[in-house]
């Protein structure tokens, strides 16, 4: 899956040492909470779009809320997401393309 961050897939931090498998790929996260957030986000995007896989996921923003652009084949999907301190989705809004 193509991502825009070289550090933690959610927050780009390079602290920590969590390696978790998401969509069959080993990815780096700064902590378990970011790993949970990423998994929840990928699952939610798949549910909303009906896609079976994601080819790309770009994330921008901070812990107060993140804007995401997901891609699969030649389709794309934009959303806004915010999480609880435990990493569950608190707000999820589909955005216009």
């Amino acid at each position: 899956m193509k991502r825009n961050y070289s550090g933690c897939a959610v927050c780009n931090s390079t602290w920590g040492n969590v390696w978790a498998e998401v969509e069959g790929e080993r990815m780096f996260f700064c902590c378990d909470i970011c790993a949970t957030q990423f998994r929840r986000l990928v699952d939610r995007v798949k549910t909303e779009t009906g896609w079976s896989t994601l080819d790309s996921l770009e994330i921008a923003g901070d812990r107060r809320g993140r804007t995401c652009v997901a891609g699969s084949g030649d389709e794309s999907f934009r959303c806004f997401v915010a999480f609880t301190p435990q990493g569950e989705i608190r707000i999820f809004e589909k955005l216009a393309r």
Binding site: G7, C11, N12, S13, T14, W15, G16, N17, V18, F29, C30, C31, D32, I33, R63, R64, G65, A82, T84, P85, Q86, R90
Partner: protein, 298 residues
Amino acid sequence: MTSCPACLRPLGQGDLPALAAHLVEEAEESDPAHVRWLNQNLTREKTTAAELVPMLERVYDLGSGTLKGWIKARFIAKFYGPVPHPFVTALQHPSRATLLGYVVEHQHFLRQWVRSCAYIMARTDEPKVILYELDNLNTEYGGAGPTRVAHYELLLRMGESLGLDRTRVLTTPPLPSTREGIEGWNRIATHQHWVAALAAMHSLELIANRNLVDDGASVHYFDPAILDSKEITDAATNFLREGYEADVTHSDEALDLVNEFGSRPDLRDEVQSTFLRSIDLFDDYLLARLQRAADFEA
């Protein structure tokens, strides 16, 4: 004694190199509280402990100001920056759901509040601090007859005015972030120096301090216009007005006491770290109010 601002582990007095080494070590284990603290307060880029030391010095430095000023500035930066905390944004013109989320979670918060303040009273020798806490506890919890109803009771009445029975409020368990906050504040009140606990608890009353805008806060806790409109119920007005009126003196007086008793070099960094831990707990707790509000959204 310095404490770690992420876990409150005691470290040597003023020993920022030991704190830096501890943070790096815990981050290596991916501990979420330590990684978060590093990410939000120092840097997202993994560095050595030696490189963290000057960053820590900048965080803890009071410059030419006071401990009170440092606490206020940090609090404003976290909750009242250009983008305020999402709960504050929701409270500007609150929906019924937002106010009910506030009621359900805050009931738990206030019960811990009493415990924390009682510990401070039990552990201090300063009459000024005891008198301050007695007054605070009466306003928040005890009340004084029908003309001075406690904040806790006003909270429950606000819930009732919005159709939420108090029995249901009192039997709803806290959300995880509220529970973690309560456990954290209880630990602070029982393990940290009493003046550090005083700073950790009463700095939180800055959230409703209407004078904070004079110190650079981007907005008030809520739009004061709602107090004179029909936008919210009378009971909600009474609850919010009480905080609006009490919390200026509550937070200012407490921070004056923190300044007076906590500025000593052997206490100051413990006060600072304990405050930093407390505002992280509070940030999560405020999100729990919003999370709970979602239960009441139609």
